[in-house]
Symmetry: C2
Subunit: 203 residues, 2 copies
């Protein structure tokens, strides 16, 4: 007894528990691709994962908790920043990696679901914030290296440059619903670079 205070799955995390978690998160992604966040039901996820729905309700707080956990899982798989030797190519690589993420069927649907969940759930919002915070910090290193090489002015805010590249792509994806293609991504990288070279990101 006296195990109520702990979350289920923390005392015996190996074996079955790990398999259940993997199956549930996989099933969650499948459901998100099919129905989006608004159509995500714990019941359907449990059925698809082949686990009892009691287990899903016990381990996760709700639909938002599921996608938040999914986001946390994806955060660990985040790739390192590019280092091609020129800032132009590094920023282009950054834009294309964002493009690849949001146009991938499973990953794109998952990202949109987490963003939708985060509009009304603190847990999902925190997971998103952490994920992108890390990603921005990681790719910001590319800008720091460029400053050292003399390609960009001293004092350029690398984090802001990275944000400036991603922003138009997410804006189109989420807000204006315009298509996001390779040309859009490359233009976004180029524009951020032009602004950065002209000192718009200092301070």
């Amino acid at each position: 007894m006296e195990q109520d205070s702990r979350l289920a799955g923390t005392v015996r995390p190996g074996g079955r528990t790990a398999r259940v978690r993997a199956a549930v998160l996989e099933a969650t992604q499948d459901e998100l691709v099919l129905h989006g966040f608004h159509g995500l039901s714990m019941d359907a996820v449990a059925a698809r994962a082949g686990v009892g729905k009691t287990t899903v309700y016990r381990r996760w707080t709700g639909a938002a908790g599921l996608v938040a956990d999914l986001m946390t899982e994806l955060a660990d798989q985040s790739a390192a920043h590019a280092n091609t030797g020129t800032i132009e190519e590094d920023l282009r690589a950054n834009a294309l990696s964002v493009l690849a993420a949001i146009t991938d069927e499973r990953l794109g649907a998952t990202l949109q679901a987490v963003i939708a969940a985060a509009t009304c759930d603190e847990e999902a919002a925190a997971a998103l914030s952490t994920f992108y915070g890390r990603r921005i910090a990681e790719w910001g290193k590319s800008i720091d290296l460029a400053i050292q090489r003399g390609e960009l002015p001293e004092g350029t805010d690398g984090h802001e440059v990275i944000r400036a590249i991603s922003a138009p792509l997410y804006y189109r994806l989420l807000v204006t619903k315009e298509p996001v293609d390779k040309a859009t991504a490359e233009r976004s990288a180029t524009r951020a670079l032009v602004a950065a070279r002209n000192g718009a990101f200092i301070g």
Copy 2:
């Protein structure tokens, strides 16, 4: 009879019908402020609006339909572009108007709800797309005037400049969950202007 093919509320749109619609859309906004899109129930909206829930189910397709209709309503209230005489001030005004919209309690909650709904509903996505399409076209005129005045290079894509100003604000609001304040808005306008002056928005 033979009225099934028409949507309810189209034959006698005046008086009661208009009052019901206004009450329902008002109630929808209230509920969105309190619970967000994921927590929006037709039942609660009907109760708050003081109308029968049958009426809400008859006139709107679902939660997504409600927010889509709300967005359509807001689209008509969209303001004209600024014309201060300088492109710097016009773009600053644009950024500040976006800031005002997303930081307003009711309007901000509504926008986030429509964006969340649009991730998995075509109707909401179309309403969003139309709303921002109009807004971008309207404010794009500021850039055209600036080109005529010789403040920006010939061939600058005004729509893209406007998108570039809004994008970082929505990116922070929706994706990274960072605070959006006046300084952020003004920086966004400045950076877009620097890039535009240096020809990054030509073509």
